[in-house]
Symmetry: C2
Subunit: 140 residues, 2 copies
């Protein structure tokens, strides 16, 4: 499994005696289908376009609950939180103008040999962050 999905969460919730509410389902369904990397405010806005509505507190509650279980990663760009429902190892491109974060498949960048870094610490994983202008902002 490489991406947040409702079924997994329902199962986990049952195992941990946690309640699945309509609000949580709505938030998770939005996240599992999100193409971009939404901020908590994005989630609030989209989820509240139709029933069931969720408060800011509920959005943050749910996000943190998912993060604790490793079902959601966070990316901080310019100090604001963006959520990444894709937990397959991958990299990011961040536009310096509009702040958009795009996924880059792991396979698109060559392997990196981490044995040289053993004198600094035990490397468990790594990610690449590319910065520049996205296609959209290039045109303007």
């Amino acid at each position: 499994m490489e991406r947040l999905n409702l079924k997994t969460v329902e199962k986990l919730a049952k195992e941990h005696g946690m309640k699945m509410t309509p609000q949580r389902r709505a938030i998770i369904m939005y996240l599992q289908s999100a193409k971009n990397h939404p901020t908590p405010e994005d989630i609030l806005k989209v989820v509240n376009r139709r029933f069931p509505m969720a408060s800011r507190a509920t959005v943050y509650n749910t996000i943190n609950w998912l993060k604790e279980r490793g079902l959601l990663k966070e990316i901080f760009e310019g100090g604001i939180m963006r959520l990444d429902p894709n937990f397959h190892s991958h990299h990011h491109f961040i536009c310096r103008k509009c702040g958009k974060v795009e996924d880059i498949e792991f396979e698109m960048v060559p392997d990196i040999d981490v044995t040289e870094l053993s004198r600094i610490g035990a490397v468990e994983n790594f990610e690449l962050t590319f910065r520049g202008l996205c296609k959209n902002c290039q045109l303007k």
Copy 2:
């Protein structure tokens, strides 16, 4: 290794008609000698241990002024700003236990071909973030 230093800043300030105050000098001198990656609050605390003192506003002013000129990079880890006075292109190792950020020389990791990424955007630079356990935390 290129690093923030007072002399460079003094020169730039003169060129741009900017004033060097004792507060700015104190902040810059701390940053140029900082071994770690201090937060704005760290800077405030250290600088205010002796004359000249600087207010929070002055610390942020100076930080932003340096960032705009590329003399200081920012790293966001867990949503808080850390300043990196090393502006030679380099990478980071972040310990998942103690949160320490260590610099990794650019030369220690192989070149990455970014031409493949042109369909996503114009890549201007990139950085690698390695995560794992630092030497210190491995021993415990």
